[in-house]
Symmetry: C2
Subunit: 326 residues, 2 copies
């Protein structure tokens, strides 16, 4: 990825930070940026959304399948999606990065570039305002994102009402297809990632591989959905059915999907698309970018074409991942 | 620590979270708490401080020296100190926790109790509003804290002016003494922590051991210093000299410490006290709880009794820690 084999252990924390800072995206809301005890950002609305996520080498990504750039992009995109799913506009991120001392500086710079390009592409004006760099046994990226509501009420998971239309913006199942492609075809005979094989998959299946490694959720549609009257919204991180069940439970209703509109069984259970799942009143104008895939009904849980769908789907970091089995 | 050997791998993410939620401190500023895509907290002032820190098993704590409660307490206290050091009042935390599947549920509950008790003791009204739980090869706690300025201007590192008095609130060197005691006396013949030895050190040296394992920085004095006119402030995480040098550099001045007032050479270099170091105009009334230990002078760097103090001091997670050497 880079000709430089200089490691962060060799140059230390301060010099590594000096290399990263110029690469990070700036926030239009910055009062005080990186380098003090805290960053300070403005919150014109008086209410601030906060979300945090860990991305850890092993359960969340495999170095070699993902480049540093991919890791930064995805860590950025997934946290932006959580802000968008509240109906807010992302404004600022703080990023904690832990890595072994043998990690190359260029790898860390690539992570910073991933944040920069994802923020520019998905949420222009949102930037990294602070962070922490530490020593860990594997690469871990801890991101906290914030944003602003600009007068719109936060859209939670608990407001779905019977008769609401259920709509989605973004991919369904593509990230899972990309993961399956990578797991099946990107490892060499020795069980380690083969970069040439990864590159070949990028070429043959760019859409699905990108959905897995560099997802592009429709961040700007979060506030659009809120303005259109969305009653409940979330981003689909763990799979459509599993996440829809969370809205159903929080709202005390059932959600009934139309399989033909959803597209495929895979689209019901594949996770990591970070698409936006939203409920709208029956008379609302569904915003451009959303497509209706179901309806809110009396009862509980998730149904597909009227039949209860009890397959678990989704992902649990403990039951679905074992370091020992890798 | 607990009779239960139930692990988080056995009960999974959802059940673990259900056990943790009731233990977490609540925030008085919560609009939306844990369980949605984001938490939402109010920010009456329109400006929000953000700080994030990673605490990682190995470089930052050793399980056996630290209990789960100690880890939660310290992760909470150190992030509160960063908010206080801006002159703000901490209001809310989001917490990412990664741990091996073999981690007991009771250990994770103890971490939550540490957050609860530290928040109650150091920043009443501040609470945990969200988080993430994931699988990692070691225990890692990623905390992001926010707060409110309540009309006070943020106090950065760059405002120290020649003639200012330099004052500190809190311990100097106690956390380092506690660490030295633990490193020298808390390990058994096999090189692993000996809980009985740790308990004996707690009994014989409660002040210094607490300063290291459960620090109690004077969080409430941050906003007090800001109201008293503090021109620059930071929390001393990496040692008095190293952190004072950061203020000196950011402000374009020198800081001259009075060794008799500082108390000892150890107090100059020992890190992790998270005390508040602040500069005040010469005519300011130094708030109760602060003691004057030096003065801002022309020049650069840090001096002690007028003599440049160039010893590095402080801590770098890469050059000062090697997993291989542990």
């Amino acid at each position: 990825m880079s000709e430089s084999a200089e490691t962060i252990g060799e140059i230390g924390e301060g010099a590594t930070l000096a290399r990263i800072f110029p690469l990070l995206p700036a926030s239009a809301r910055t009062v005080i940026g990186p380098g003090d005890d805290c960053a300070v950002v403005t919150v014109p609305d008086g209410r601030v959304p906060l979300t945090t996520d860990l991305m850890i080498e092993g359960p969340d990504f495999i170095i070699g399948l993902s480049t540093g750039f991919d890791i930064g992009w995805k860590a950025c995109a997934t946290n932006l999606a959580d802000i968008a799913a509240m109906g807010a506009t992302p404004t600022a991120l703080v990023v904690g990065l832990a890595a072994p001392a043998s990690t190359t500086v260029s790898f860390v710079e690539d992570i910073a570039r991933g944040f920069r390009d994802a923020a520019a592409a998905l949420a222009p004006g949102c930037g990294v305002v602070g962070g922490d760099l530490s020593h860990g046994p594997v690469v871990m990226v801890a991101v906290t994102a914030t944003g602003e509501f600009d007068g719109v009420e936060p859209v939670t998971r608990s407001g779905a009402a019977i008769g609401n239309l259920v709509a989605v913006a973004g991919e369904l199942g593509a990230a899972k297809r990309g993961l399956d492609l990578l797991l099946a075809g990107a490892f060499g005979a020795d069980g380690t990632p083969d970069r040439d094989a990864v590159d070949a998959l990028w070429e043959s299946n760019p859409h699905d591989v990108a959905a897995q490694l560099r997802p592009s959720p429709p961040i700007g549609l979060g506030v659009v959905a809120a303005r259109a009257g969305a009653t409940a919204m979330m981003d689909i991180s763990d799979g459509l059915v599993l996440d829809a069940r969370r809205i159903a439970t929080a709202s005390g209703v059932a959600i009934d999907f139309d399989l033909a509109a959803v597209g495929s069984l895979d689209a019901l259970t594949g996770g990591e698309d970070h698409s936006l799942l939203a409920c709208f009143p029956p008379l609302a104008t569904i915003p451009k970018g959303f497509r209706v895939i179901g309806r809110v009904a009396p009862g509980d849980g998730v149904r597909v074409d009227g039949v209860p769908f009890d397959a678990r789907g989704g992902w649990d970091p403990f039951s679905d991942y074992s370091a020992e089995s890798q």
